[in-house]
Symmetry: C3
Subunit: 142 residues, 3 copies
């Protein structure tokens, strides 16, 4: 069984956002898969996906704090500055975290750890809605 | 052919550890796959998986040194500190390296480069045993 | 349908290089796949693959600038220095960006965003040709 679908995430402000529920609600057919894989690609170069702690808002705020100091705006080495101060740091942050997640499916849902959730990492000040391509393959029934 | 199995890695101290043999020994059925894929997900948010140099212990020690200075404990920007000084840096390190590996299989084993090995990156002082979900799909026979 | 093939990328100087066309031209059979996945693994520990902005050479130059200052040669914490000053930083950079890409296929080609392209990230001064393993699986016809 194959399923491929575009999923549009509503706009978020710059920062790290838990989107596990929003993503899974867009993919009700996952419930039919006994063993398989879910792949998510974000079709942008200034936002990324990650898997991290799903409970504390402080963790997500600290992610933003670390990335902002590690990949600073206004650094002397940036030359690609025409699209705004937040643009080039956003490309680097997005590449560090990566544009995709590959998740095992078992009994109709991602086999995540207890504390794992899907983050949308929005690296632009005003990134707008973000498009994902969700691709699923696996065995149905049981 | 699909195979999905939990693999439990024995506890390691904080640092970068070569676990290629431990992982593959837990998955003897890979030998039946002529062409396919092995996906590994670590079900934790303070440890990660990576593919890097499989020979020198110095390389793994230098990884720890770099990550410790790049994502320092005790930095002024951390607010999520209740679970210990090593906790929030562990989440960031884990996200930078990523929670999963996707490896091509050919003739019954991962088609890695000569110098590539699987690292368990343990970012907590005492992380305990770590759980992986190994998922394999592909064609058997030849 | 499964396809697995070695793809050899011609040598590049240290830096970030757009290789989307070179990779896809080596995989003409992708055109037969209606829905599927393309996985690319670079079989090296001092070069990596990334998906980022496909238009501006400045972006690729700024990537090199950021990584060179974030993972500096000659830092006091490196102990693995026998293979050259660029070797150990190359391992860390490669692990941060990762050795593989997993891309959804739709109607015979990767379903990338408008601005996304495949980067070969060459972290050695003289890395030579780089080997990829390309693995594709999916449904044919339409």
């Amino acid at each position: 069984m194959w399923l491929q679908r575009a999923v549009r995430l509503s706009p978020r402000p710059r920062g790290f956002h838990l989107v596990t529920a929003e993503v899974l609600e867009a993919l009700p057919e996952l419930g039919e898969i006994s063993v398989g894989v879910l792949h998510l690609l974000i079709q942008h170069t200034s936002a990324s996906l990650a898997l991290s702690e799903n409970a504390s808002p402080e963790v997500r705020r600290d992610f933003e704090a670390w990335f902002d100091q590690a990949v600073p705006e206004g650094a002397r080495y940036w030359t690609h500055t025409l699209e705004g101060e937040d643009d080039m740091p956003a490309h680097v942050k997005a590449a560090l975290l990566g544009p995709s997640l590959t998740l095992p499916l078992r009994d109709g849902r991602p086999a995540l750890g207890t504390w794992q959730g899907i983050y949308l990492c929005e690296h632009r000040d005003r990134g707008g809605p973000r498009s994902l391509i969700a691709t699923t393959w696996g065995e149905t029934g049981g």
